[in-house]
Amino acid sequence: MKPLQELEFRLNGRNVRVEVLPDETLLEVLRERLRLTGTKSGCAEGECGACTVLVQGLPVASCLYPALRCQGQAVETVEGLAGEQGLQLHPLQESFIEHGAVQCGFCTPGMLMSAKALLDKNPSPDRTEIAQALSGNLCRCTGYVKIIDSVEKAVEKINGTGPAHHGSAEK
C-alpha cells in the first residue's frame, strides 16, 4: 500500500483536510472520502462531464484531476451551490427546477457547475455560447433544449432582463 498524503483545500468555502493516496482523483476523494456524492461518475475518462466541479473557478473533470493538485486551492461542487447552509438556491438551480432541465438528474450537478463557470465569466451568454459551454456535459435524457432554456432564463433573472430581451426557440 502506498502511503497516505495530507491534502488541504477549500471546499465550498470551508477548509478541509483529508488523507489521500497519491494517485487518487478529486472525484474519488470527494465521493468516497468526503462523502460528497452529488458529483457523479459517468465515465471516469473525461468524456461525459458528470463529474464537473470548479477548481479556482474553472470547470474541470474531477475524474481525471489528481486530488493532490488541489492543495491550497478552492473547489466548488454542487453541494456548495446553494450557499454555505445550502438554503439559498442558486438562480441556476431554481431555473433548472422551474423549466424542466432535470430528468434523471445524473448529468445535473455537472451541468450546473459548467453553467456556473460560464456565468461567472460571461454574465450574458447567448444560446450558442451556452450550448458551447455545456458541450462537454453529456445528457441522454433531455435533448438539452430545456437545459439551455433554463440557463438562459437564469441569466435573465440574474440580469433582470425579461424574455423579450432573450428569445427562446422553445416558447
Partner: protein, 747 residues
C-alpha cells in the same frame, strides 16, 4: 371539474430539488463500513469452451475475500428477463465477448482490480457465428444448449398479399439495415447490498423492483420475504436496467459472506455487459394503386439478438404489429424472426423493435408518393389510420387517433418557419423529411396490470405508493398530479413512495410507455375508491352519503373538502388500492390478429437537414414534432420527453453505432461512441395533440417511446431528397452521404 387543477400544468418535479442540490441518492452513492468491492472477470472471446481456471494468484492478493466461479453461486446459475438462458457466471462456454466468468470480492477497489487482472481463464476457441445468416445456415452449430439459433419467429397475416401486389399500380421493394446502439444512460449500472437482520436489502436502479426480488430469490436461494429491493434514483434507463446487473453480483457476495457489498460498472464494462438495440435487416415490399391508396405490404425481418434471448420474443412481437406503420392496409404479411449469434446481446430499448421499422416503412411511403406524383404529406394523409378504422392486425380502433391532427400541426409549424441561411448557401443542400408513427401502449397482447395505493389518516399527508421508480421522465410527478387532481387537494399534500418491495405494491415494469396510462389509471381508481370510502365515513357524521365534485363533499348546503373530511370523519388510517389492467386480447398464434394494445400513441415529425456537399456531413437544422398523447398530464415533462426522445433519434439516425470486430465492441466508451451533445441540438418545436383516450387517466396515453420513433426516419427521408436515392441504412454517416453524392455527380 375539480377545484385544484394540476393535470395539464407544470408543477415542479417532485424529485427536482434533491437532484439540483446533489442530495438525490443513486445506488453508487451508497457506502458503508466494511463493504466489499467487486469485479467481474469477463470473456474476451466471442465463442469458446472454458477449459481451465487459474485462481490462486488472484486469491493470494492482500485484501481479497473471495474469488468465485459458477460452482460457488448460491442458487440458480442462469437468469434473464424472460428466458433464463444467461449465465450469471459462465461454467462451460462463453457465447460473447463480455460474458461473465469469475467474480472477485475484496476489501478495497484496488485489491479487487488487481486480483481480477490475475485471474486466468483458459479457453478453447470455437468458430464465432457473427451474423443471423451464418447462424441459420443448415450446418451452423447450435450455440446454446437450451435451443436452436432461431429463437423466435412470428407472422402477421391479413388479406391476400400476393394477389394484391400483383394487381397494384406501383410497387417498391427495398432492403434496409439498422445498427446496434447503446442505451448510454449517464448512470452506469450499480448496486449496493447489505443485511438488515436476516433480510438482504438490495438497492439499485431498476425498472421493476418486484421482478428483481423474485429473480434474486432464485439467484440467492433465499425466500422472497428475506429480500427487500429498493429502487434508488434511476440515472436513466431507456428500457434497460432490469435483471443481471452489479446489484446481482453484490447480492451474491453478501449472501456468501454475510457482508455488505457495492459494485458499479465502469463505462467500458457497461458497454460490454449491457444489452443493445436489436440490429435488424428488413426486406419490405409496399404497393399502392394509381390514386395512391396503399394496397399491400410484405415484410421480412431478421433480428440479431446476440448471445442471449433477453427480450427477443417481446421485441419482435411488437415489431410485427408496427411493421406497416400507422396506415390503413387490408393486405399485410409480416414475418419476423430473432436469431442467436455470438454478438453482444440485444435487449429492451426505448422504441422496442419499432424504431428500426420506421426507417423502412417511412422510406417506402416517400418512394411510393413520388411514383404516384403526390407530396409525402398528402400521400400519408390519404393512408393514415382513422379513429373508426380496423387496423391491419384486425383491431377496431377507438376514438383516440390523432394522426391527421399531428400532420396538420407539423405542416402549420413548417409553413411559419423562416428560411434557414444555409438554404441559400451553395455549399449546402437542404431538405425537409417527414415521418409518422404509431405505438401500442402496454405489453403486447399480455395482461399487464398496474397497481397503486393511497392511504389517508387525520392530520397526516396523503401517502401514494407505486411500485415503479421514476427514470427521470417525471412519472412520480404525474402520479402525484393525477392523485391531487382527483382528490381535489394541493399536490404538496401528497407524499409519494416508489418501488420498494417492503412498502409498495407491484405495479408491473416501467416499460412499453405504460406508466402514465396503466399505473396512472390505477392511481386515479385508487383516488376514486378513497373518495367513496371517506364519503362513507363522512356519512356517519352528516347522516347521509354526500356527493363529491369540484374537490368538495356536499350534502344539503354543507360542504367540506377532502382533507377536511378526512380530519373530521376518520379516526384511523384508511387505504385504498387501484388496479388497472388495460383491455387487450391475445394475438392469434398463426396470424397475429387481435387487440394487442388497449390504446395507441401517434405522432408526426418533420426534420430539416442540411448536407455539406464537400464533406457529406449532415446536420439537422430544425425538428418539428407533434404527438398525440391523449391528454398532457405535465406540459413541461411531456415536452422534455419529446426533446429527449427526438435527440436520441437524431443520434440513432446520424451518429451512433456499436462497431463490432469479431463480435467485440470496438468503441466501448464515449470517446469513440458519440452521442449527441448540446452542439447537435437543432431548433425544435413541439406540439402536443390531445385526442383523449377514454380509458386513460384524464384521457392520457403515453409519450416516452413515441417521441423517439419518427426522428431518424424523418432525417433519412430528408437525406433521400437531397441524394436522389435512399441510403437505406442507419446510421447515415458522412461517408455514406459522400459516396452517394459522388455517384450522383458521376451520372
Amino acid at each position: 371539474m375539480s377545484r385544484v387543477h394540476v393535470v395539464g400544468g407544470a408543477m415542479p418535479k417532485v424529485d427536482a430539488l434533491d437532484k439540483v442540490t446533489g442530495k438525490a441518492i443513486y445506488a453508487a452513492d451508497r457506502l458503508t463500513q466494511g463493504m466489499l468491492h467487486l469485479k467481474v472477470v469477463r470473456s474476451d472471446r466471442p465463442h469458446a469452451q472454458i477449459t481451465g481456471l487459474s485462481l490462486d494468484r488472484a486469491k493470494a492478493v492482500e485484501g481479497v475475500v473471495g474469488v468465485w466461479t459458477a460452482d460457488d453461486l448460491p442458487g440458480v446459475r442462469s437468469t434473464g428477463p424472460r428466458a433464463k438462458d444467461e449465465p450469471i457466471l459462465c461454467w462451460q462456454k462463453v457465447l460473447r465477448v463480455g460474458d461473465p466468468v469469475v467474480l472477485v470480492a475484496a476489501e478495497s477497489e484496488p485489491a479487487a482490480r488487481e486480483a481480477a487482472e490475475l485471474v486466468e481463464v483458459q479457453y478453447q476457441d470455437l468458430p464465432p457465428i457473427l451474423s443471423p445468416q451464418e447462424a441459420l445456415a443448415p450446418d451452423a452449430p447450435q450455440l446454446h444448449p437450451e435451443g436452436p439459433n432461431l429463437v423466435f419467429e412470428r407472422r402477421l397475416v391479413r388479406g391476400q398479399v400476393d394477389e394484391a401486389l400483383a394487381n397494384s399500380a406501383h410497387v417498391v421493394t427495398n432492403t434496409y439495415r439498422t445498427q446496434g446502439i447503446e442505451h448510454a444512460y449517464l448512470e452506469p449500472e450499480a448496486g449496493f447490498t447489505h443485511w438488515e437482520g436476516d433480510q438482504l436489502v438490495v438497492e439499485l436502479p431498476t425498472k421493476h423492483a418486484h421482478f428483481e426480488q423474485n429473480e434474486l430469490s432464485k439467484v440467492l436461494d433465499l425466500s422472497v420475504d428475506r429480500i427487500r429491493v429498493i429502487c434508488r434514483t434511476i440515472g436513466g434507463y431507456f428500457g434497460d436496467k432490469q435483471c443481471l446487473s452489479p446489484a446481482y453480483y453484490a447480492a451474491i457476495a453478501s449472501k456468501i459472506t454475510g457482508r455488505p457489498a457495492r459494485m458499479a460498472y465502469s463505462r467500458e464494462e457497461s458497454f460490454f455487459a449491457s444489452t443493445k438495440r436489436h440490429p435488424y435487416s428488413i426486406e419490405m415490399t409496399t404497393a399502392c394503386d394509381v390514386q395512391g391508396k396503399l394496397t399491400a405490404v410484405k415484410v421480412d425481418i431478421t433480428g440479431d439478438t446476440g448471445a442471449y434471448i433477453s427480450y427477443a420474443p417481446s421485441v419482435m412481437s411488437r415489431t410485427i404489429m408496427h411493421a406497416m406503420g400507422p396506415y390503413h392496409l387490408d393486405n399485410v404479411e409480416v414475418t419476423g424472426r430473432q436469431v442467436r449469434t455470438n454478438n453482444p446481446t440485444a435487449g429492451s430499448m426505448r422504441g422496442f423493435g419499432v424504431v428500426q421499422l420506421g426507417l423502412a416503412y417511412e422510406c417506402q411511403m416517400d418512394l411510393l408518393a413520388q411514383k404516384v406524383g403526390m407530396s409525402p404529406e398528402e400521400f400519408r394523409r390519404l393512408n393514415f389510420l382513422q379513429a373508426d378504422d380496423t387496423a391491419p392486425w384486425g383491431q377496431q380502433l377507438s376514438s383516440s387517433v390523432g394522426l391527421t391532427q399531428c400532420l396538420d400541426a407539423v405542416l402549420a409549424e413548417r409553413a411559419q418557419i423562416e428560411p434557414h441561411p444555409l438554404e441559400s448557401d451553395p455549399d449546402y443542400a437542404v431538405a425537409w423529411g417527414l415521418a409518422a408513427m404509431h405505438y401500442g401502449i402496454g405489453l403486447t397482447g399480455l395482461p399487464n396490470p398496474g397497481v397503486a395505493m393511497l392511504r389517508v389518516a387525520p392530520g397526516e399527508k396523503i401517502r401514494l405508493t407505486v411500485g415503479i421508480g421514476d427514470g427521470g421522465q417525471g412519472s412520480s410527478t404525474s402520479m402525484v398530479q393525477i392523485a391531487a387532481e382527483t382528490l381535489g387537494v394541493d399536490p404538496g399534500e401528497i407524499q409519494i413512495i416508489c418501488a420498494d418491495t417492503a412498502l409498495t405494491p407491484n405495479s408491473g415494469p416501467s416499460t412499453a410507455s405504460r406508466i402514465t396510462y396503466v399505473v396512472g389509471r390505477a392511481v386515479f381508481d385508487a383516488a376514486r375508491s378513497l373518495i367513496d370510502r371517506v364519503g362513507g365515513e363522512l356519512a356517519r357524521e352528516w347522516g347521509a352519503q354526500p356527493d363529491f365534485s369540484d374537490g368538495m363533499y356536499r350534502l344539503e348546503g354543507k360542504e367540506l373538502d377532502f382533507k377536511g373530511a378526512v380530519n373530521l370523519a376518520l379516526n384511523a388510517p384508511i387505504a385504498e388500492q387501484g388496479a388497472f389492467d388495460p383491455p387487450t386480447q391475445a394475438l392469434d398464434q398463426a396470424t397475429s390478429q387481435g387487440s394487442p394494445y388497449a390504446t395507441y400513441a401517434f405522432g408526426v415529425q418533420a426534420a430539416q437537414v442540411a448536407v455539406n456537399l464537400e464533406t457529406g456531413q449532415a446536420r439537422v437544422l430544425r425538428l418539428l414534432a407533434a404527438h398525440d398523447v391523449g391528454r398532457v398530464i405535465h406540459r413541461v415533462n411531456a415536452e422534455g420527453q419529446v426533446h429527449g426522445g427526438a435527440i436520441m433519434g437524431l443520434g440513432y439516425g446520424l451518429m451512433e453505432e456499436i462497431v463490432l470486430r469479431e463480435g467485440r465492441i470496438m468503441n466501448p466508451g464515449f470517446r469513440a461512441y458519440l452521442i449527441p451533445s448540446a452542439m447537435e441540438v437543432p431548433e425544435m418545436k413541439v406540439t402536443m395533440v390531445e385526442c383523449p383516450e377514454p380509458t386513460g387517466p384524464y384521457g392520457a396515453k403515453g409519450v416516452g417511446e413515441p417521441a423517439l420513433l419518427p426522428t431518424a426516419p424523418a432525417i433519412h427521408n430528408a437525406l433521400t431528397k437531397i441524394l436522389g436515392q435512399p441510403v437505406k441504412k442507419l446510421p447515415v454517416k458522412a461517408e455514406d452521404i459522400w459516396r452517394l453524392l459522388s455517384q450522383r455527380a458521376e451520372k
